[in-house]
């Protein structure tokens, strides 16, 4: 609960720090990208703050490179 509240406060501070100058300059694209990333960041932080497990990107790395790694081990350890 406290974690979620804290993250929201941080997110609002970040938004207040960046968004006004973007609005004044009418840089729409910047504002979009910034908002999308902020939403992803806040989403991830809250999920983590509530102790929900997030999939580990390194697991994907292992799936992709396991055949190559096994091949190298077989080549150099025979």
């Amino acid at each position: 609960m406290w974690a979620t509240l804290g993250i929201f406060i941080v997110a609002i501070l970040i938004f207040m720090a960046e968004a006004p100058s973007l609005l004044i300059n009418k840089s729409k694209r910047e504002l979009w990208v910034f908002s999308v990333l902020l939403v992803i960041g806040v989403g991830l932080s809250i999920t983590r703050g509530l102790n929900v497990s997030i999939p580990n990107p390194l697991d994907l790395l292992i799936i992709v490179y396991k055949p190559l790694s096994d091949l190298l081990t077989a080549l150099l350890n025979s």
Partner: protein, 367 residues
């Protein structure tokens, strides 16, 4: 493109600092586990191959000296394939930064501040990374010059203090298991310091004196590589391969052995300072590259607006990326080198080949 310029000496120093990076602390354990007492041979072999990799990267940088990697991806591979490659590429600095922040956090909470939660250390570190990246590449390069001076002094002191402890018995017998383990150990020595330098392809347009870049690139990585060869050789010569492969942080164990006379002991914090310094530069630089790459893919002018949200994402990712130390070490030593070589060798080769074929076709077209 923004009007930022860094000088050649600054560029060289930045390359050296980033080559040393976090490798100074965590690298020696991996070749020691694979090549045993011949790990120092792996280090030398790795340095030689590593210089070839850097030469390859320098050659790719020469294709379009005024564009960054993300920009000439689209130019060489075509618009949409280029964008796909670029999007795959941004995950590389993203995961790297998260993994390195976690390394800092793990090290600090196991050796220095043992009762602090790892999230807090990571969070504080991410804050200073965001501050560094916000100031831009010029400031990163200039401050690198100042800190490089301190790093050199600390490193020389470190080496002089360790020389009396060398025991040559530790490297015998040489080539006991033949050449294969040496090659196996050399792979990580090439991957971690040298292939990871590919991120420099993103800043080459900002360097003055375009023609001499490849040379400075090679000199910088050679200096950094020599530091690593010395460190790996010392861990084997002083600790022996068994102790080296068992420690998470072999260089730190090495530093604990330093005693000067009978009055100056436990100065291993010198090493921690060196390590945190070089790793800070590596992470900040990667983080800068990450935001620059995203900004160039989505075509916005200012990368700075992305920094705070990305900082949040990195903080969470740095916690998620490692459920425990065993999983993390296993993944980093077994699979990460392949990830490095995908972007550090395969992608440059692909770009060179396609650019070469394109040039040939254009020539035929003109005739």
């Amino acid at each position: 493109m923004e009007n930022k310029k860094i000088d050649l000496p600054q560029f060289t120093i930045l390359v050296t600092l980033i080559t040393v990076g976090d490798s100074i602390l965590v690298l020696p354990a991996i070749p020691a586990a694979l090549a045993k007492q011949d790990a120092w041979l792996s280090a030398i072999l790795g340095l030689l191959i590593g210089l070839f990799v850097v030469y390859l990267l320098g050659t790719v940088g020469k294709l379009y000296p005024h564009l960054t990697l993300v920009e000439y991806n689209e130019k060489i591979l075509g618009k949409w394939p280029g964008i796909v490659v670029s999007i795959l590429f941004i995950f590389y600095p993203l995961l790297s930064v998260a993994a390195h922040v976690r390394e800092i956090g793990d090290f600090t909470t196991t050796h220095i501040m043992t009762n602090t939660p790892v999230l807090m250390v990571n969070l504080i570190f991410v804050v200073i990374i965001v501050m560094g990246a916000r100031l831009g590449i010029e400031v990163i390069a200039r401050s690198g010059e100042i800190f490089f001076f301190f790093f050199t002094i600390l490193f020389v002191v470190f080496v002089i203090a360790l020389v009396p402890l060398i025991d040559l018995e530790n490297v015998k017998p040489i080539l006991e298991g033949g050449i294969k383990p040496v090659i196996n150990g050399a792979f990580t020595v090439v991957a971690f310091p040298f292939m990871e330098l590919l991120v420099f392809l993103m800043v080459l347009p900002y360097v003055n004196h375009q023609k001499k870049i490849r040379k400075s690139f090679l000199i910088g990585s050679l200096c950094g590589g020599l530091v690593l060869v010395i460190i790996i050789a010392f861990t084997i010569l002083i600790l022996g391969y068994d102790l080296t492969q068992r420690s998470f942080y072999p260089t730190f164990a090495l530093a604990k052995m330093i005693r000067i006379g009978d009055f100056l002991e436990r100065i291993e914090v010198i090493l921690a300072v060196m390590w945190i310094l070089t790793t800070y530069y590596k992470i900040t630089f990667y983080f800068y590259i990450l935001n620059l790459a995203i900004a160039q893919i989505v075509r916005i002018k200012e990368y700075k607006v992305l920094l705070y949200p990305m900082g949040m994402i990195i903080t969470v990712l740095s916690i998620v990326i490692s459920p425990n130390a065993a999983y993390f070490n296993d993944t980093i030593s077994k699979y990460w080198p392949f990830y490095d070589s995908t972007f550090g060798v395969f992608l440059p080769l692909l770009l060179l080949t396609v650019a070469f074929i394109r040039k040939k076709h254009e020539k035929i077209g003109y005739n």
